[in-house]
């Protein structure tokens, strides 16, 4: 591809959606500091950044400004008001030379400290991300193990929660009297952030009992486990309803998925 053809891809590259050969070709141009593609991509970054304007307007918490300014001050090197300088006449030449050397040294040290602070901040950010990632993987692994144990247990009762809307995927449940109820599903549609799914046990008598509140992840998957908070023999059915974020004390919509238990 020549630069003219690649120019059509600048914004997609800036948006980070470009893949495969197209990405590789454009990156090859950028790697050799192509005089057309390099400024083109820079401009595209500006264009793509404007998409931020699509975000719904939101006010940051009042306390945030103070936190940021305090943290900045705590990081040191904040400019202070300059003090009046003593008259030159009081200092001999050697003192000026010493002062100049000290100023140079101080300037160098401050610059070094600035660089070190920047590197430290980067390292802290990387460590924070790595820690979060590690914790997320551990949580995921633990959850996966728990769900597998419930699914594999001979004491578990496998159930299929059938969707009322035929276009929706089936939800699987594995009901174990002690280990809990595991719920799994794939290809679930995304949900608005103000809504959630809620699992209910429907008892022989009395009102439905809330078991769990959950949402599909970004890949449309559900994998959760929740305690069984009533005797399994008492449960007639499992039902999933859509509720406002945070769940409801009792279902406010008709069940979207249902499975008969006993």
């Amino acid at each position: 591809m020549d630069c003219e053809q690649l120019a059509l891809l600048y914004e997609e590259y800036a948006l980070d959606v470009l893949e495969g050969e197209e990405r590789a070709e454009l990156e090859a141009h950028l790697a050799r500091a192509c005089a057309q593609c390099t400024p083109g991509v820079e401009k595209a970054r500006w264009v793509v950044a404007q998409l931020a304007q699509m975000a719904p307007d939101a006010q940051p918490p009042q306390s945030l400004k103070g936190k940021i300014l305090d943290a900045a001050r705590a990081s040191g090197n904040v400019t202070e008001i300059a003090k009046p300088k003593p008259s030159r006449a009081f200092f001999p030449a050697w003192a000026w030379a010493a002062a100049a050397a000290l100023a140079l040294l101080t300037g160098y040290s401050i610059r070094q400290m600035g660089n070190q602070n920047a590197q430290l901040a980067d390292l802290r950010h990387q460590m924070k991300l790595a820690t979060m990632q590690s914790k997320a993987l551990q949580d995921q692994l633990t959850l996966g193990r728990m769900i597998t144990s419930v699914m594999m247990s001979p004491d578990s009762k496998p159930l299929k929660l059938m969707p009322v809307d035929k276009n929706m995927p089936m939800v699987h449940a594995y009901l174990h009297p002690h280990m809990g109820v595991a719920i799994t599903a794939d290809q679930m549609p995304s949900m608005p952030s103000a809504r959630t799914l809620q699992l209910w046990f429907v008892p022989k008598t009395g009102k439905p009992m809330s078991v769990a509140i959950f949402r599909p992840n970004a890949e449309g998957q559900i994998a959760i486990i929740a305690p069984v908070n009533m005797p399994v023999a008492e449960i007639v059915a499992l039902a999933v309803t859509e509720e406002p974020a945070g769940g409801s004390p009792q279902p406010t919509t008709n069940p979207a998925w249902v499975a008969q238990v006993n």
Partner: protein
């Protein structure tokens, strides 16, 4: 930026007053969690305070640079969140904050607000699925293939929607600048 380079904390305050709101709005839209959005915005402004020289090296307009840094940070967070695939029962985390209080526009905000209007108007003129595809790329950090799978449209269609939409955005912003 000159004053930030000189470690003038009042300059950081000015920068915050001018950009915190659009930056926070963007990060909240991506992360969907007010607590995390606050933390990310704090990181972004402190990064500028600590790495102002890097900005000097790259030049360009400050606002878009801030948006890019903020988006990258928020998408890092989102990717980690996706990996977790865990239960999300903390409903408070998903609540959006109360509606924003209108503050007087800072100096120079008129251009920014006009530009914002231009972007919103263009995006709302796009067909729903085309706009959705661009939003998934920008706010959810999805690739062409991921968007294709998410909205159930062929990869080629998704590519052409995104390309077409972005080129229209480029032209529209160029017109507005000239």
């Amino acid at each position: 930026m000159e004053r930030i380079l000189q470690r003038d904390s009042a300059a950081l305050e000015t920068l915050y007053d001018r950009y915190s709101r659009p930056v926070y709005s963007l990060v909240l839209r991506i992360s969907q969690q007010p607590g995390s959005a606050e933390e990310i915005v704090q990181d972004v402004f402190l990064q500028i305070w600590q790495n102002a020289k890097r900005y000097e090296a790259t030049r360009g307009a400050l606002g878009p640079w801030l948006f890019t840094v903020a988006r990258n940070r928020a998408l890092d967070f989102l990717r980690l969140k996706r990996e977790k695939q865990r239960r999300r029962e903390d409903s408070a985390d998903f609540d959006l904050p109360p509606s924003a209080v209108v503050r007087p526009d800072p100096e120079g905000a008129m251009d920014q607000s006009r530009r914002a209007e231009k972007v919103r108007s263009l995006m709302s003129s796009l067909p729903d699925l085309q706009r959705r595809a661009i939003e998934l790329a920008f706010f959810d950090g999805m690739s062409h293939s991921e968007i294709s799978a998410a909205i159930g449209e062929p990869l080629g269609t998704v590519k052409s929607w995104i390309r077409g939409g972005l080129l229209r955005l480029r032209e529209s912003l160029e017109e507005a600048r000239s």
